[in-house]
């Protein structure tokens, strides 16, 4: 089974990765700070207030989320993670992107060599449908293809 969702391209690029879904806002600082500070091999979500993601590996995943929340250092933290090669493979927002995530995505795109394709405005249907572990493929035009795991 496969479904396509149309969003807006924030940062262009194509990628395929497994979905990691946060139904609540993604707190960038709380999620990333511990892994960045201690230089762990994988970026493990350290946000105790996010039951969907807490203790899960973030790097290399297709992070599906409504928006980011938390400290206004968020964009800087995301950019730092990108420069260290520690970000999700892509970020997929059901809502229009917020100013902190936008900053992080743009700083990553313009001030680093890292690639983190980003699509927003995918709609609440997207977040209702996608489940952690499903296969995600981003196409050039903001189309996000979601396939059930194993297919």
């Amino acid at each position: 089974m496969m479904r396509k969702f149309q969003g807006r391209v924030v940062i262009p690029g194509t990628v395929s990765a497994r979905a990691l879904v946060s139904h609540g806002g993604f707190n960038t600082l709380a999620s990333l700070q511990k892994s960045l500070m201690f230089g762990t091999k994988d970026t493990i979500c350290g946000d105790q207030n996010n039951p969907d993601l807490y203790k899960k590996k973030l790097n290399g995943q297709a992070l599906c989320l409504p928006r980011t929340i938390g400290s206004t250092t968020g964009g800087m933290v995301l950019y730092t993670a990108a420069k260290m090669g520690r970000t999700p493979a892509c970020m997929l927002f059901s809502e229009p992107i917020d100013s902190l995530a936008a900053a992080g995505a743009l700083l990553t795109d313009i001030w680093s060599d890292a690639k983190m394709p980003t699509v927003d405005s995918l709609g609440s249907d997207f977040l209702d449908y996608v489940k952690t572990g499903m296969m995600i493929r981003i196409e050039e035009n903001g189309v996000v293809v979601v396939e059930e795991a194993g297919r």
Binding site: Q48, S71, T72, G75, V77, D98, L100, L106
Partner: protein, 474 residues
């Protein structure tokens, strides 16, 4: 986006490759939010949220190095958030090692970069840069490029300046380029309220708790608040501004509020009244029961939920001079009532360096020191953001500190009772038992000590008497 010739030249690289990238970042940022043009930053000073030299954020220092190497300095001088370290804050040898050698090992180098790019002065390091003593207080209508969430919401709401909730680095780029994209809170339409909040509490609500309730309900939207003028009046005096500072910080951290209006009080509400509210605004009623519900919803993040507090932070955001004096007087009175002279929980007041200097000239400063209180310019959040401190049972009256750390929130009156060892009705039952046990042990210890001293005195008297007798004999 429509750009002026100068802005276009910057984007096209006529001011160098680094400025072109700065401009590209700002233009693309604005385009994502539908900005039609870039507008000049008109505030006299900027403010940077990144004040900490964490070794791990080396990519930020690389950008700073690139700006400096390209000869780019900020169009405006700027203040920064509070510093993460203060030698007056007691730390264990292990904490000292972790802070200085591991976590903030780039602090000195980063501060040197800040000076080169445009830091106002070494004392301009606080989240409350808008205090008169600090000197970075925007005028109504000023366009700003700030990021610190508590400062942005204060500048927008209480001062009537115009600033979006920017991220760190973006705000520096706005100061460097001298312009920001016009969207959101920079537009009249973006400043309209989408929520009517009706405060119907029987007493003046705790600012931090009320802000938390509002923030968690409206998130990033704009609330117009009715009913607060009953308690705060209609004049933006010192008391009202202090209240709104704490209220706003909680709305911004427990939600993502960047602007609020208070009926009959904040500048735009006083001028435009309910015309600021969109016709389709939703309504949120806050009464005593709702505040109680919100407070009881806070999770306790301590590993041992019944632990006795070891440290108390008061001042996130930083305290005003009036708040410092008031807290000192309140603690003094409460200690006297409890027959004590020093606080029973290590307590730290935090305030801007410039206010700290003023406070040091007052009699209350000596009182605070005598009571064992530490007064510091540190950022409590940065102090708490490491495993050594986050595992400590810390209490606070700050809803921002509660949100971003493991610190436990109590309202002011409860904090006062806890740190003065007084009526412990606010303290959880097991803590009460521990405290009672601890007090009993201390009392027993004092009794033993007193008994020993009495015995010693008796022994000395007997010896004196013996010597006297013997001497006489000699």
């Amino acid at each position: 986006m429509e750009l002026t010739q100068e802005q276009q030249d910057k984007l096209d690289g006529k001011y160098g490759a680094t400025m072109a990238r700065v401009m590209q970042t700002l233009v693309r940022y604005g385009e994502l939010f539908g900005a039609k043009r870039m507008v000049p930053v008109t505030g006299k000073y900027g403010h940077l949220v990144t004040s900490f030299g964490l070794g791990v954020i080396s990519p930020v220092y690389e950008i700073m190095d690139e700006l400096i190497a390209s000869g780019i300095v900020s169009k405006q001088k700027f203040s920064i958030d509070p510093k993460p370290l203060d030698p007056d804050i007691p730390v264990s040898p292990l904490q000292d090692l972790v802070f200085r050698k591991f976590m903030y090992n780039k602090q000195d180098a980063y501060e040197e970069q800040l000076r080169k790019v445009g830091w106002m002065n070494d004392d301009a390091a606080t989240c409350t840069c808008y205090f008169d003593e600090v000197g970075n207080k925007p005028e109504k209508g000023d366009i700003l490029s700030w990021a610190e969430s508590s400062a942005v919401v204060y500048a927008n709401s209480v001062l009537g300046a115009r600033c979006n909730r920017n991220s760190g680095i973006i705000e520096l780029f706005g100061s460097v380029a001298g312009c920001v994209p016009e969207f959101g809170f920079l537009t009249d339409e973006g400043r309209k309220a989408t929520w009517r909040v009706e405060v119907r509490t029987t007493e003046k609500p705790n600012a931090q708790l009320l802000g938390s309730a509002v923030g968690m309900k409206v998130m990033e939207e704009v609330p117009y608040i009715f009913g607060l003028d009953r308690f705060l009046g209609t004049e933006l005096n010192d008391e009202a501004c202090s209240y709104l500072k704490d209220f706003g910080a909680a709305t911004a951290s427990n939600g993502a509020v960047g602007l609020y209006h208070v009926d009959h009080l904040t500048p735009e509400a006083a001028e435009q009244g309910e015309a600021l509210i969109r016709p389709d605004a939703k309504t949120y009623v806050i009464d005593d029961a709702e505040l109680k519900r919100v407070e009881e919803s806070y999770p306790v993040m301590w590993k041992n939920k019944d632990a006795a507090p070891k440290l108390c932070f008061i001042g996130c955001p930083h305290l005003t001079l009036t708040q410092l004096k008031q807290w000192t007087q309140d603690i003094h009175e409460e200690l006297q009532r409890n027959g004590r002279s020093r606080v029973t929980v290590k307590t730290v007041f935090t305030t801007p360096p410039a206010v700290l200097k003023e406070f040091q000239r007052t009699e209350e400063y000596a009182m605070a020191r005598e009571m064992g209180i530490i007064v510091s310019y540190i950022c409590p959040l940065m102090y708490m953001n490491n495993p050594l401190c986050s595992s400590m049972p810390v209490i606070t009256n700050s809803n921002k500190l509660r949100t971003y750390s493991t610190a436990r929130f109590y309202q002011d009156d409860a904090i006062l009772r806890i740190i003065t060892g007084g009526d412990a009705s606010a303290i959880p039952m097991q803590e009460k038992f521990m405290k009672a046990g601890s007090d009993a042990v201390k009392a027993a210890g004092k009794a033993v000590e007193a008994g020993k001293k009495a015995a010693d005195r008796m022994k000395e008297q007997a010896e004196d008497a013996g010597r006297k007798d013997g001497g006489d004999d000699a």
